[in-house]
């Protein structure tokens, strides 16, 4: 069977599975809709968290980014996993004990202020929307490459699927589809990685293959360093970014991960505090499987690409080059007309341009794996994009129905709230789809900044809210506003107002816009602390509540009221 038939079959089967699960797990109450009734097992929640977390960007683009940035790519590997340590140790157990449904819920109650709640809602919506638009675009790209339909048709098909199971099933439906999606995506990621590792290094475990030897007996990484330096690039294992910038970006990504509302909310769905801790551990195990494989895929990919294309005659290139040239993800241009492809660091003379997404998407073709593996990668990429989109849509709909409507209309019936939640989810899907079809030029840029914003807004006030009884609403609001405004201003200035200034010489302390969230976070902490010092302490009942969330006993089911 050819690639496209396999792809239709595998993608079709996986979609049928998701829809089947959605029907089976229909949500009947707001509690089921928001937090799956609070009865998800830690293992299932760990898997769902992993799928929720690993987006189209993790699945499709991350390995490719590392391929072309080598050691510098480590910021993503450490940043997007280290955040789970913070989440497990500093946030998850306490928020679970707190026992409501959303992050703004916590901020609003802990800082006894609807103003604080609204600021938190705005942060949550902003972060989630920028993030979800990128996912829908990812769905569209996968459809257009593998199923040979138009990108826009792809986005609309993806919208319908997500609409179906998130509106119908809420968190309950999303959780169990995410479990299935995790299995699909990890299988799809590992199969080609294992094959390629075998072919290149003779070791079936990619994590070990990365440190293994290639055919001529030299270590893969040493060989890569040598080849790349010969072509005029920096060595693979050494960095180009400044140390301060590496530090700042890693910190912003870690803290941002721990502050992302769609990740935090997953820990409200387990029955007990100790389940929340354990579940964060499982989540990181499931994430680590992909994240420790990615650097191997990255190194194998760039090695293979150089090995099979560079210095080869233009008319004798392998078949996959032709396939991917149609999508413009790979461009070969014989500039000097010698009939040979030169791959060089010098942009003027370079004749081979490879898009980062190739490293994962074309991986099975480069390694000449059977056609079904290609179809598998397509369904895996789709699973990664859909699961993240669904998690984000839920945050958006919950923010609207619960944090906005419920706050200002406390007498509303549960049935009505559930209806509003569903309508909001539907509206959010349509809006996300619109952005997927008409991506504002800045979407790809902004997704990376969602982390900086989460780091600068949520993380400090949640941490201080748990670990200090003295921080009050004035402190929290000024902290969140300062952190958010500062980070946004820095990003907007360098990315949109004066992009020509965006280089290390003009950055403050050599910190790029990607890493500035960590400075925003520090400002938030300081503002929180200083303002709280000079304003009245929180009321006694709030201080008692803080004492209460610090001990696990009595978490019970998620509180519904």
């Amino acid at each position: 069977m050819d690639i496209i038939t396999w792809t239709y079959i595998l993608v079709g089967l996986s979609f049928a599975l998701y829809i089947g699960i959605a029907i089976w797990t229909r949500a009947g109450s707001t509690k089921e809709f928001y937090v799956a009734g609070g009865g998800v097992s830690p293992l299932a929640n760990g898997m769902a968290t992993a799928a929720d977390w690993m987006s189209a960007a993790s699945f499709i683009s991350m390995a490719g980014i590392i391929s072309f940035s080598g050691y510098d790519g480590s910021v993503y590997l450490m940043g997007w996993t280290g955040g789970y340590v913070l989440l497990a140790l500093l946030l998850a157990p306490y928020l679970r004990k707190f026992g409501k449904f959303t992050v703004p819920d916590f901020v609003g109650d802990r800082y006894y202020s609807n103003k604080a709640r609204v600021v938190a809602v705005i942060c949550a919506l902003f972060i989630s929307f920028t993030y979800v638009a990128g996912q829908m675009r990812g769905v569209g790209i996968v459809f257009s490459r593998y199923l040979e339909v138009d990108i826009n048709t792809g986005v609309i098909i993806g919208m319908c699927i997500v609409f179906f199971y998130s509106v119908l099933g809420g968190m309950k439906g999303i959780t169990y589809t995410q479990v299935a999606q995790y299995c699909v995506l990890i299988f799809a990621y590992m199969v080609p990685a294992i094959f390629v590792s075998m072919q290149l290094t003779g070791n079936p475990i990619p994590q070990l293959g990365l440190g293994g030897t290639v055919a001529d007996g030299t270590h893969l990484l040493d060989k890569l360093d040598g080849v790349l330096t010969d072509l005029g690039f920096a060595a693979y294992t050494s960095g180009r970014k400044g140390m301060v910038d590496m530090f700042a970006i890693t910190l912003a990504l870690m803290v941002g991960t721990a502050g992302l509302p769609h990740v935090i909310v997953r820990f409200f769905t387990v029955p007990r505090v100790k389940d929340a801790r354990l579940s964060a551990g499982y989540a990181l195990v499931f994430i680590a499987i992909l994240y420790t494989t990615a650097p191997a895929v990255a190194a194998f990919g760039i090695y293979n690409a150089i090995d099979t294309v560079a210095e080869k005659p233009v008319d004798q290139l392998p078949e996959w080059v032709g396939n991917w040239q149609k999508t413009n993800l790979i461009v070969v241009e014989d500039k000097n007309g010698d009939g040979i492809v030169q791959y060089l660091a010098d942009k003027e003379a370079n004749e081979l341009t490879i898009d980062k997404d190739i490293m994962v998407l074309a991986n099975p073709e480069i390694a000449q794996l059977p056609n079904w593996v290609v179809g598998l990668v397509a369904s895996g990429a789709m699973a990664a994009a859909l699961s993240t989109a669904a998690g984000l849509l839920l945050v958006i709909s919950t923010s609207i129905s619960r944090d906005l409507f419920r706050t200002f209309r406390p007498e509303m019936s549960e049935k009505k709230e559930l209806r509003i939640a569903r309508i909001a989810a539907g509206g959010a899907v349509v809006l996300a789809g619109y952005f997927g079809v008409n991506p504002p030029g800045f979407v790809a840029e902004v997704v990376a900044f969602a982390f900086g914003l989460a780091a600068a807004s949520f993380f400090p006030v949640i941490i201080m809210g748990i670990f200090s009884t003295k921080i009050n609403k004035e402190g929290a609001i000024s902290g969140m506003v300062l952190g958010l405004v500062f980070t946004l201003a820095y990003i907007i200035y360098f990315k949109f107002l004066s992009p020509e200034m965006n280089n290390a010489e003009n950055w403050w302390f050599g910190i790029s816009p990607e890493g500035i969230g960590s400075v925003g976070m520090l400002l938030n902490f300081v503002a929180c602390y200083v303002v709280s010092k000079f304003t009245p302490a929180p009321p006694q009942h709030v201080q008692d509540m803080i004492q209460e969330i610090r001990i696990p006993r009595g978490a019970g089911g998620a509180v519904d009221h």
Binding site: L210, T213, F247, Y291, R553
Partner: protein
């Protein structure tokens, strides 16, 4: 009641010590070995990896996983010891 308050204080203090200890390791393997000391560690090799590079792209992630499970184990024990555990 006063007794209980003392007990909770002691529980919280032990909790904070645990966090501090684990976060110190968290910082050391990622920011320490993976970024600040990467050049120095790259002088050593394990298998085909330069050590600093290995920590940045592999080792730190393994340590993160271990840290969370140590935390889970330690806190479950602490909860029982102070009788604040769930059923």
């Amino acid at each position: 009641m006063a007794d209980n308050k003392q007990k909770m204080k002691a529980y919280w203090k032990k909790n904070l010590m645990t966090l501090l200890f684990l976060l110190l390791i968290w910082f050391t393997v990622s920011f320490g070995f993976g970024i600040l000391l990467v050049e120095q560690l790259n002088n050593f090799k394990i298998g085909g990896f330069k050590l600093g590079f290995w920590f940045a792209q592999q080792g730190s992630i393994y340590v993160f996983v271990i840290l969370i499970f140590v935390y889970v184990y330690r806190m479950n024990k602490l909860d029982k010891e102070f009788d604040v555990n769930e059923e």
